[in-house]
């Protein structure tokens, strides 16, 4: 997902006299500064998601505290928790109902690969959100700390727009 999948309106228009790149970049930077997540907390990781939205970790510094209950109004689906076979059609429906452009963040070990519930003889869970959804960012942890969720948001920001919020301290 991301910039590559946005239907391009550039075909057919010679690039000599209409330049879209700057507008695209600007629009993408505006997009990443105002992600609207879908309130889709399934299990324990949902509590850390709520804690991130609250006063101490404050997701609204990054523009992402506007949790929308309706998929029609959101653009990031944070899959926070274990996905069961019973729940999977519901998640797919919610994902399909989100309008483009949309992204998916897999929060926690269960959404990445089944987590601690992937054992020999398991009969009830799907081993990770990427079995049926295109996941953009994986945030590991059981549950991941709120700072890890914020890092995931920042990684998603970079993935969508190419713009980094601040310089990588290790690269400096």
């Amino acid at each position: 997902m991301g910039t590559k999948n946005i239907p391009s309106i550039k075909e057919g228009i010679p690039s000599s006299f209409v330049q879209f790149a700057l507008a695209d970049q600007l629009i993408n930077i505006c997009r990443v500064n105002s992600f609207w997540p879908l309130t889709f907390g399934i299990a324990c990781c949902a509590i850390e998601m709520m804690a991130t939205g609250c006063a101490r970790f404050d997701m609204s510094r990054f523009g992402a505290e506007v949790f929308r209950p309706s998929p029609r109004q959101s653009d990031v689906m944070i899959v926070a928790g274990t996905i069961t076979k019973k729940m999977m059609p519901g998640i797919k429906t919610l994902y399909d109902q989100m309008p483009e452009p949309k992204w998916v963040m897999a929060l926690g070990n269960c959404a990445i690969s089944g987590g601690p519930f992937a054992f020999e003889g398991q009969y009830s869970i799907i081993l990770g959100a990427d079995q049926f959804l295109p996941v953009d960012v994986y945030v590991p942890g059981c549950p991941p700390r709120p700072e890890a969720l914020l890092q995931g948001i920042m990684e998603l920001e970079h993935k969508v727009s190419g713009w980094k919020r601040w310089k990588n301290p290790e690269a400096a």
């Binding site: 076979k85 019973k86 003889g121 398991q122 009969y123 009830s124």
Partner: protein
Amino acid sequence: MIVEKTKLALLNLFPQSEPVAAAAPAPLQEEGEKKAPKKEPPRMNGVMERDYNVHGYHLDAQVSPAQLLDAVAIIDDAGFFIESITGVDWIKEDQLEVIYDFSRYDFDLCRVVIRTRVPRSKPVVPTITGMYAGANWHERETHDFFGIKFEGHPNLIPLLLPEDADFHPLLKDFKA
């Protein structure tokens, strides 16, 4: 004492047998003995008292499925609340056991466990939802996990498993 009263009331269901003394705990396997554990005879229907400090409950009554409703009626009249219902798969003895836990709200503590065994090939137990409405979900869950049919249950459809599930995961011979 409610423990004595309930025990005597439950004993009325078993006119033939004598009251059994507190059951001695089964011997622990020592390190040296690697022989197969000697087979204990199957437990007869009856009431026994258990050591609360070891087992965590006071009275243990094993009944036949036909006596189940009478036993639960005694417990209901005495004012117990239903704690849970669950099942155990004794595959070696080819039986399924249904365990009912009851306890009290007042300070007159008494935990009662009622058990009943049915053959694995035809696991049918009467429902107690007529007396305890809370048994509804517990019985559905036991049916989900073990396949035990509770006859008379108003709505015996899967509770925790998907609606179209036809497997019973906690049976010992279940393969995912």
